[in-house]
Structures are given as C-alpha cells and as structure tokens.
Symmetry: C2
Subunit: 414 residues, 2 copies
C-alpha cells in the first residue's frame, strides 16, 4: 500500500510545491507563494533562498516600475531559464518536429522535417528521429543549460508508463519503445506520450480558468482521439494511454472503421468517414486518406447548400453526440475542446451533436455543456510535451534524494 512519509521527503515535497507555484503563477512573490501553499513565510523564505542559491530560481528585478502600494515591494521570483532545458519530439503523419525549450518554457531552437512515415521501415523511422534530436542537442549555437529531459508525442496508442508507442495511424509499425531508444542513445530520461493527452496538458496550462479539474480534449482529424483530465489529473487507461473515445461503439455492426472493427464513433466522425459518407461511398469501403484541404473544401460545400456533404457532417455530429452522451453517463458532463481540422467545421457538426446528446443520460443539462474549438493540434501537442517534460524536471531537480524515478515511472503530474 501507499508508503509512509519520511522526514526528509517533507522538504523535497515542499520544494516541489514552491517550484510548481512559480511555474504556475509566473512571477509570484514569496508572500504569494506562502499564501497558495499554506506554508509559513519563514519556510518559503528558506526554501526559495536554497533554490536561488542552486540556480533554479532567480529574483526578477524586472517588476513593474511602481508598485503603487505602500510597504516594502514584493520581489517576484522567476524560473531561471538556464537552470535546464528540455527537448520535445512530435511525430505525426509525414511530419517530424523537434524543439528545445529552456527551463522557463521559452522555445530556443526548432527543427521540422517532412518524411514519409507511412512507408518508412522501422530502422529508418527511428533513425530519422534520433538524427534530428542529435542535431538539436549538439547545436553549437545553443548556450542553454543541458537538456535534462525528452518528451516525445505521437498520434496513436502508448502504454500507461509512457514508454512505448503501441500503435499509431501514421505508420504500420507497432510496439516501438521510443522512450528506451531515446534514453539509450542520449542518456537523457525520456517519455513517449499520447498526442491527445498532451493536448489536454497544454490546454490546462493555456487556460487554467476553463480547463482546470475536469475537461475533455477531442481531436477531430483523420481519426478521433481524446485526452481526458479528471479531478485535475490526466486520465489514462490501466494498460495503455487509454481514452480511445473514437473507438467506443456507436452502432453495433455499423460502418467500417479504420481499426478494422465496425460501428466505432470514428467510423462516422473521422475525416475519412465524413468524406466517405459525403461522396456516397459505401460504409463498408476501406478508409482512405483525405487531405486537410479537401476537408476544408467539403466543409465549405456543406455550408453552401444542403446535400450529402451537410448530411455527412450531421451524421458525424450524431455519432460524436451519442459517444459523448455515453462518456458523460460515466464521468458527468465537462467542458469540451474540439481540436483539429474538423473542429473548424464544428458549426456543421454541433446541431446534430447537441440533438444526440440531449437524448442521452449525460445530456440532461445539454445546453450547459460548452464547446470550444481549436483547428490546429500541432502547437498544442508541442506545448503539452514541453510542459510535461518541464514538470518532470521540476520534480527531479528538487528531489536529489528522491526515489529512483529515472523516468521509468511516468507518473501523472498533470
């Protein structure tokens, strides 16, 4: 069972708390930190003195010119950008992108690459990933602190421990242990994250007001993915990254899904499904790849006039609505972010979606369920990976005596 708290863990945890408060709040003063953590001023003072001395935090003189308030002005504390750096790798369909981010969260270098992920053999795919990382790591122009962590994001399914890509739509290859491969090659702790989970993490940082304790990020793209945050923590399956919303069953025995099964939500709401339906192609036809431009054209046509295109979006909305209804039956309604190219066509999807959801148990307060859209998923995934890696570093730097969490664990610290 859960382990007791040793006396020395105390300082470690409270250091974590302070760092996390600074990362969250921007430039909080010691007094603010004391307020949010509930620790005494003396403790915060002691801990932040340590952290400054170790080069993790720094006092930011650059506060507003006039404090306007009486009394000694607060001294803002900031993360020292040079304390460390992290590297993100995002692998998506025909596209590989890497970024180096300093400890304060600023991107200091990037590189992007087109490649033919669908047909690349295993060695080549891995090789390209390693090569691009190596180039960024050994860039002589970079004078940022040493890279302390790598987070890789990928479309598809990863394991619970964030080590292995189990399956991905971008390649026929399966079970690639990217985390181990990266760790072995560069000697830097690495994790392999699911794209939609990273979207959720990013949303939580971008708009903590709206995306706080419970919310859902749904990727409407070629496939349908989901990142789920419940009670403030990223939700993952017991074995895999989980949250395979797209493969909940909408109609038993129904349309053919990319996964080979029938009736999944995705088989009605994925890009290929909308396309198939709009073109009058049989529901039994194998999924085909549809470009983003084609999808945008389809949406435009659907907006222009009633017809099979509009009907296709309607059916997609219906599938998503019943799927969300079932999901809400399990977890209760929560704010939803629709991300991806089809999120730009959410106006076509929403009416049928709301109508469907109203017919479900979760739709009792259908109107109160709010949707937000974000057509571009890649920046979100990158940000999510960056924050994920940085929070890991937060936990490692301050925990020099902590458990041997050499990245083998992958706990949720969302």
């Amino acid at each position: 069972m859960s382990v007791g708290i040793r006396h020395d863990d105390l300082r470690r945890r409270n250091r974590a708390m302070v760092i996390s408060a600074v990362r969250r709040a921007g430039q909080p003063s010691r007094t603010e930190i004391a307020a949010t953590t509930g620790l005494s001023h003396s403790t915060i003072s002691a801990i932040s003195a340590d952290l400054i001395q170790e080069g993790i935090l720094s006092e930011s003189k650059a506060t507003e010119p006039t404090a306007l308030k009486r009394g000694r002005p607060q001294i803002g504390l900031a993360l020292n950008p040079e304390a460390a750096a992290v590297l993100t790798v995002v692998l998506s369909l025909n596209f590989l992108s890497v970024a180096v981010i300093d400890y304060a969260g600023q991107v200091v270098a990037e590189e992007q690459l087109r490649l033919d992920t669908l047909v690349m053999p295993r060695d080549e795919l891995i090789g390209e990933c390693l090569a691009i990382v190596r180039r960024r790591l050994h860039d002589p122009d970079l004078d940022v602190g040493s890279v302390a962590r790598i987070a890789m994001g990928i479309q598809g399914i990863t394991d619970t421990h964030s080590r292995v890509m189990l399956w991905s739509p971008i390649t026929p290859l399966t079970d690639i242990p990217f985390a181990d491969i990266l760790e072995k090659e560069f000697g830097i702790p690495a994790t392999m994250e699911n794209d939609c989970n990273m979207m959720a993490v990013a949303l939580q940082w971008r708009d903590p007001e709206r995306y706080r304790d419970d919310f859902i990020a749904i990727l409407l793209s070629h496939g349908i993915g989901m990142g789920l945050v419940l009670k403030g923590a990223l939700f993952t399956g017991t074995h895999s990254s989980g949250g395979e919303f797209g493969h909940m069953i909408h109609r038993p025995g129904g349309a053919l899904c990319r996964c080979g099964r029938r009736g999944c939500v995705e088989a009605y709401a994925g890009n290929y499904a909308i396309w198939r339906s709009a073109m009058g192609i049989s529901e039994d036809a194998a999924p085909t790849d549809v470009g983003d431009a084609d999808m945008r054209a389809l949406a435009a046509k659907a907006r222009q006039q009633d017809g099979p295109e509009r009907e296709a979006y309607r059916r997609a909305g219906e599938a998503l609505g019943f799927g969300l209804g079932s999901l809400f039956a399990l977890i209760d309604p929560a704010p939803v972010a629709m991300v991806g190219v089809s999120a730009a066509a959410f106006d076509l999807i929403e009416p049928a979606l709301r109508e469907a959801i109203a017919q479900t148990a979760g739709g009792q307060h259908s109107e109160s369920i709010s949707f937000d859209t974000e057509p571009n998923e890649l920046p979100l995934i990158r940000e999510g990976c960056a924050m994920r890696a940085l929070t890991f570093v937060d936990q490692e730097i301050f925990a020099p005596g902590g458990q041997a969490r050499t990245g083998t664990v992958g706990k949720n610290v969302a």
Copy 2:
C-alpha cells in the same frame, strides 16, 4: 492548488498509515508494519505505543501457539473493537436495513424492515430511516464504543460529495439530503453512498488479490449499475456518483429505458428489459417491475430450451458486451464482478457478451477478460458501507488536529 505539507501533518499521516496497515493486514507485527510503510522501526514503535495508549490498537496475545521461528516472537497488533463503532443504513427497494459495526469490523447489532418505498411520501420515508437508526443507537444492550460515523447506501445516483440522494429507482422522490438529515438528527458525521460504489469497496476488502487497483463491479438487477475502481481509488463522476454504465447508449433510438430515454444498455439488460423481450412485449412498452423469483424462473426456462427467453438473455449479453467494449475503449480491460439476481444467469449472458466484446476495441484480448459472479448484492453493499465508515473513522480518530473534515468532504479513500 495542492497545499503544502505542514510539519505537524506528518505524524497525523503516518498514524493513519499505521492504522490502515493494521486494518488491512489483520494482526501485523510492528516489524511488518515498518516493512509495508517504509518507516523506521523506531517510528512505528513510537506511533503504535501512542495508539495503544489511546485505546485505538491493542496487542493481540492470541497469536499462534508456536511461532516455529527462532528469535523473539512478533507481537500482533489489532484494532481495538471498542475504540469506536459505526452504523450502516442500506435502503433498497421495499427494504431498509441497519447494522452497528464495531471498530474491528464485527457486526454487533442489526435490524431489518420491509416497507413500501415506491409509494411512501417523503416525510414518512425519512422518518422510517431516522426511527430505525434511533432504535439501534439507543439500544441499551449495546455496550460498544460510541457510534462515530454513519454510512448510508442507496440504489441510484448520489452527488460527488456523498451528501445527497439525487435520484433513485426505489422511490419517485428526488434530491433527499440524507447525509445532512442524519447528521442533524444524531449529531454524528454521515455520508450518502451509491450502492454500486459500496459493492466495489466491499470487493476490494473481500478479495484484494483479484480486486486491487483496477476493476469493475456491475449490478445486474432491475436496473444496471456500476462501481468502478481505477488505480486503487473509487471512481466517481465530477458531479454525481457517476459510472452510469447502464445508461450508456447501446442502440441510438432503440428500446425504451426506465430512465425515459431510448437505447440505453439497461433497456436491453435490466431485469425488466429481459422480461419484456422474453415475453414478446414491445420495446416501447413501459418497464414493469419483475420479481426475483420470476427472473429465476425465466432463467430456468431459458436454460431448458431455446426460445424467446434464451434470446432475451442473448440480447442482454450483447448489450452488456458492447457497453463493456465501449467502456474498455476508455479505461482498458479490467476484471469484472457481476452482482445481482441476473448474475446467477450469467451462463446465459456470457456467450453473447463475449461475442459482442470481441467486436470492440476493448475486446482485443477478449478471452483474458475475466468475470466473477455474486448473486446477492445486499451483503456487499452493507460491507462496503461499513468499511467506508470505518476508514473514515480511521482518519478522524488519529487526526484530532486535522482539517475540519467533518464529513463534509467525502474524499475517496477507497
């Protein structure tokens, strides 16, 4: 955000740890506790000395006659039954049952009552509950420590904070704040728990080997309910008790459900649905109450010969299978316990269930998903309530200076 750890919380938490270790392990020695908690022997020694001195624990001389081992024999620590007591109230269809349980978990008094829950007015229903509790609390024969906590269990939906019965199939009444009512009447902290959640809690205590970190308890009765444990903790919705598995959508626009909507899993697998189907009654017909005896007769007939009865169970299995498939798409497969009268007919349900699940994303390893059955739900619910109440007491007795958690919070400590 999460609050810092004050220095004085440390002892409180570690005391909790020790108590919890004793409750879990039965009669562990100090050495064993030190091993499971990771705390040092001296610390465990000090804490258990305190707890014994306070009458919470006691040294159990009644260890096995011969330890067979060399060295000083271990002294088992046990919960002192007289340290406190808890009271459970379980309200189900036409049935009210109360039990008093000592701190060691033994039932010391019970009372059960038949009543007509479906037609009772609000005041009367509440009145009966209060009356039966009052009788047990003031029983002069009882010389157990004072009752420190009440846990009430009910079929239906409760709120996340375990305070209010929001809706229940056993009564047309809604939104009864039982926890507040009990607290106000008796001045004892109380919670209002969902029946299926309590089933899950009980299973975790009964068979921690099988039901440990991730598992599902499904109630197959008049309605279909679920208790879900994920990562060792009871899973609840964001607003309600959640886990309304029975109201996930099986067939959009399909059979009429008791909840008034169409196509829910329950509308195919609830007792009334199986009955309706077996009797050739329309799927649009209003649900009727079916007795347990009738259901057993139906199952017997279905076993005897192929016919509409067998087909009804097959369809129930199919609905449950697709529902579980969708659930497994979200959380990955986990062991399942089927509880309730129709669990006794699981042989009739299983084939279609497995066939359906194999067609879903969650069913990839369909064979490896294991089911266990338990026809009688009431004892499980009672046990779950008892353990829930006792673990609350565990947290209150040792935490005399803790936050004001006077039962207002209802955190998951599954």
